[in-house]
Symmetry: C2
Subunit: 336 residues, 2 copies
Amino acid sequence: MAFALPPGSTIGILGGGQLGRMLALAAARLGLDVAILTPDEDSPASRVAKTTFVAPYDDPDALAALAKVSDVVTFEFENVPARVVEILAGLGAVVAPGAKALAVAQDRVDEKSFINSVGVSTVGFEGVNSAIECEVAVARIGVPALLKTRRDGYDGKGQRWIRDAKDAAAAFEALGAPCILEAPAPFVRELSVNGVRRRTRAPAAVSPETEEAAQDIAGCILEGLDYVGVLAVELFELENGDLLVNEIAPRVHNTGHWTQDGCLTDQFEQHIRAVAGWPLGPTTALARTEMTNLLGSEVDAWTLLAGEPGVCIHLYGKRHAAPGRKMGHVNRLTSL
Amino acid sequence: MAFALPPGSTIGILGGGQLGRMLALAAARLGLDVAILTPDEDSPASRVAKTTFVAPYDDPDALAALAKVSDVVTFEFENVPARVVEILAGLGAVVAPGAKALAVAQDRVDEKSFINSVGVSTVGFEGVNSAIECEVAVARIGVPALLKTRRDGYDGKGQRWIRDAKDAAAAFEALGAPCILEAPAPFVRELSVNGVRRRTRAPAAVSPETEEAAQDIAGCILEGLDYVGVLAVELFELENGDLLVNEIAPRVHNTGHWTQDGCLTDQFEQHIRAVAGWPLGPTTALARTEMTNLLGSEVDAWTLLAGEPGVCIHLYGKRHAAPGRKMGHVNRLTSL
């Protein structure tokens, strides 16, 4: 895009969940309209969007309709099928972030290979496509080692620890898909950086050196992907202070929800600004913020939470609170 | 309402303008759905609401449909016809704020009479229903005096200054409606208080005494109206520090837009919390904030404003920028 999209333009969003909803709220503040594509008949995002197309993500007619009304198309999750971006590009739609970021984020071997290629460290890893390759890789990397499917899987799903070399083949068979074998990270804590284009911020209580190193890492990744939009980088901090990248998410991210109340410009508005070609907003922190997810029935405490001093509550409008389902979050603010 | 409305409940809003839009955005953060009633086919609020009924405000079928889907009905403007609230009440709908606040706010004589009745000062005034009554009132109040229509009119419309007693009859004839004649307020500045139920906050640079006096005044008015929701009180500060109430607005108000970025809980969320029976949110100020309306073509500066440090921009999604039309606002933040 050569110019910023003027107010009244439409942002297309693939996905109707809470991230899409919060992106839509941010777009509205900027005077932009939103069109959602989701297979869900009553999605959280559709209830705050001007237009919703209810269809599978790869439905050609729905993609054509979305492309027609949208000045730019973005997404709330990284597992958008590659053919969806191809179809949209074929229709002349601008998609941001682009195909490269999606491709890299969808495959754990490609992701770590890309991260290493821009000079950033990860744990040791090896792609494995068979039980025998898994045994070979375990012999090389040692135990314990973590076997994960290359694609899909999140929050511990689609992965197993191999603690004894003789279990390698069985672990691969159990997952039953192309995998990545990773050396364990002897980390002392997990950090995250939410970068937008070439700017990053970290609210964590880290040394200036660690903050700078994390920002440099995010910068390398954003530049390597020629990235437009918000991207999250999950990092392991080792005992000696070194940082390893665990994974990247080419989208707004749960770890950035604190910015909604703790920052002048939150990650959702920043993403909309970036994909609409607007100047980025000021990210000055206004308060120290601790974000807590409300999972499943934890959301039932909403009356208590809504009355707690210094607490900002965000609920996603989901109709059913299944165990572990992200139903909302709270930001607890204390002065800087 | 005996209980707080749970997430997933629906807030009905009469009016589809920018105040309705910002109320809808706040409701969404709280996991609440919104239904809008507006005569406008493509209103700013409808683009961020789950449901919109396009019809005149007093359309019985539309009001029935709104009452059916809404757990509580509120409004974004105070000139809702009294019969609308009667129809809604007849349908069993809960309306907040209620009929009394609307009735008082719609008639300048009733408004000032009510304010005096709760022990709060206004300028001297008299209701006038004919040219002769106007002459009598001018003789009593003196000149200069300000003649205004009792109902409707805003921002200087529907009013005239009478600077010479012999112009009194002509001024009344020119306005051609029941009027109020007001003594001038020798004020040094205008202040406003945005109260919610029994809590108030003022961001103005005023003495502790003035702040306390303004809060007491707002408290008297809120209690006198048995009020639920956000109400704005416009005040004149006199040279000796006394405060006179100019007018009240039983709704979220332009002078409270600064709370969107300068406060933990903004006026829109606070209004939604109040009408939904939720605990009120913390109103701690996070920053000093200066709000500026973007009128008409001023909104064309959006790219510059969006890039200005410390500026939060809010655009209303209006399709046409007529001269003087409120198209958006910016909040300029500096640290406390």
